[in-house]
Symmetry: C2
Subunit: 247 residues, 2 copies
């Protein structure tokens, strides 16, 4: 068996997220497995670096799978791109050591969230940006972000109430980039809880709208209560941008 | 009655083109008229500078309409943008002289056609570019384009066989712009026949693929026969970029 790592780009608009769900097959993982099974004539399990929610996009999702097949990497990649739907593309495919696991070995992930602050409706980009259409106090958001960074229990920023595992994560940085009326926010951390980026973003937006003060962040973290944090922003602005591994 | 001119941007993917068709309402013109009629409480006819086909986009379509309504331009524009679907946006609205007609007064139009020549599947841009995925000899295309420009009878480049009106048009210029593996082609003329830009583009692509020689263009024009010209490229790569009026 050979272990292959793939880097995948996808437009999540039409999908129920990355992770395969029972019999339904409107997931990215499911689509990739179906094509690989057709190629290999055997069942294949594709391990992603993590889930992305319904409607969330990826620029560089990382996944791996083990197959026993007498084909070159280039051929496998071309086969995948030929049979995958037009909104999923395999950007790279490499043979990796047997023990490589895209989720277990991931050290760090970066998510990008895109916001339109201007009045303008986004005609061509509407599925790839959150149309907030309100101006934001980015400096206040940066002050709030500084209080959220670091190793904390992020239970207040997790939608899954039944989460039994640890909700402690190291949020390494939150970076802001303004381009005209657009705001791009990047979240880098060693891992993210269910909906964590979207709740962090919603809370920061409430700060940017002056509905909350930056100083409130510490209290929200301490509360360990989802109700204390802000709203969950919609999925269309969110992109899994990169996953890093120690070499 | 006040005559208003609007500049409209739209993603044509979901529509049966600009022009209203009987009872169906999946057209840009139909969508705009419906919102205006709701605002004015009377039937309104919106005149576009010309049709765009099903699936074709516009960056700056120009249209005008006469209404008798006691509202400021800014209010009408906001109302339109609020009630129009998210893939149609009114970029500007101005009061114009009573006799202004967006189609009859148009002097010149520019269409943009976008082609991906590289192998890469276009995940996020796939509805806005033609995925040819073959390299093109742009110099040969430029030589062919030079022979097509000027005032000619473009009957060979018109899909409508029953066209009774003149098929003579002045194709003022065809410009090529290469950006990495993408080719952007702009067609400027005093008017375009049904499918004319898409047939010109398909014919030029056949030249770029060395399936035809540039010198064949003169013969195709002279033939006045649609069969002699190249294929009709798909609509997703086409944008109505601008419409010019003499002041």
């Amino acid at each position: 068996m050979t272990n292959y790592r793939i880097i995948v780009e996808y437009d999540g608009s039409r999908y129920d997220g990355w992770q395969k769900q029972g019999n339904t097959d409107q997931t990215i993982q499911g689509k990739i497995e179906t094509v690989l099974e057709r190629l290999c004539g055997q069942s294949v399990e594709v391990h992603g670096s993590g889930r992305t929610d319904a409607g969330v996009h990826a620029l560089n999702q990382v996944a791996n799978f083990h197959v026993d097949i007498n084909k070159k990497g280039q051929e496998i990649m071309e086969y995948l791109n030929h049979y995958l739907p037009e909104d999923i593309r395999v950007k790279a495919l490499d043979q990796v050591p047997e023990r490589f696991h895209s989720r277990l070995n991931a050290q760090e992930k970066t998510y990008l969230y895109r916001i339109e602050m201007g009045e303008k409706k986004q005609v061509f980009d509407r599925k790839y940006i959150y149309g907030l259409h309100k101006s934001l106090d980015v400096e206040a958001m940066e002050r709030a972000a500084a209080l959220l960074c670091g190793e904390h229990d992020f239970k207040s920023f997790c939608s899954n109430r039944k989460m039994k595992k640890s909700t402690v994560r190291n949020l390494k940085k939150i970076e802001f980039e303004k381009e005209d009326t657009r705001l791009f926010v990047r979240f880098t951390g060693n891992g993210f809880l269910y909906n964590m980026v979207r709740i962090l973003m919603g809370t920061l937006i409430e700060v940017g709208l002056k509905e909350r003060r930056p100083e409130e962040m510490s209290g929200i973290l301490k509360a360990l209560d989802r109700q204390m944090a802000g709203y969950t922003v919609p999925p269309e602005g969110l992109f899994l941008e990169s996953v890093n591994y120690l070499l």
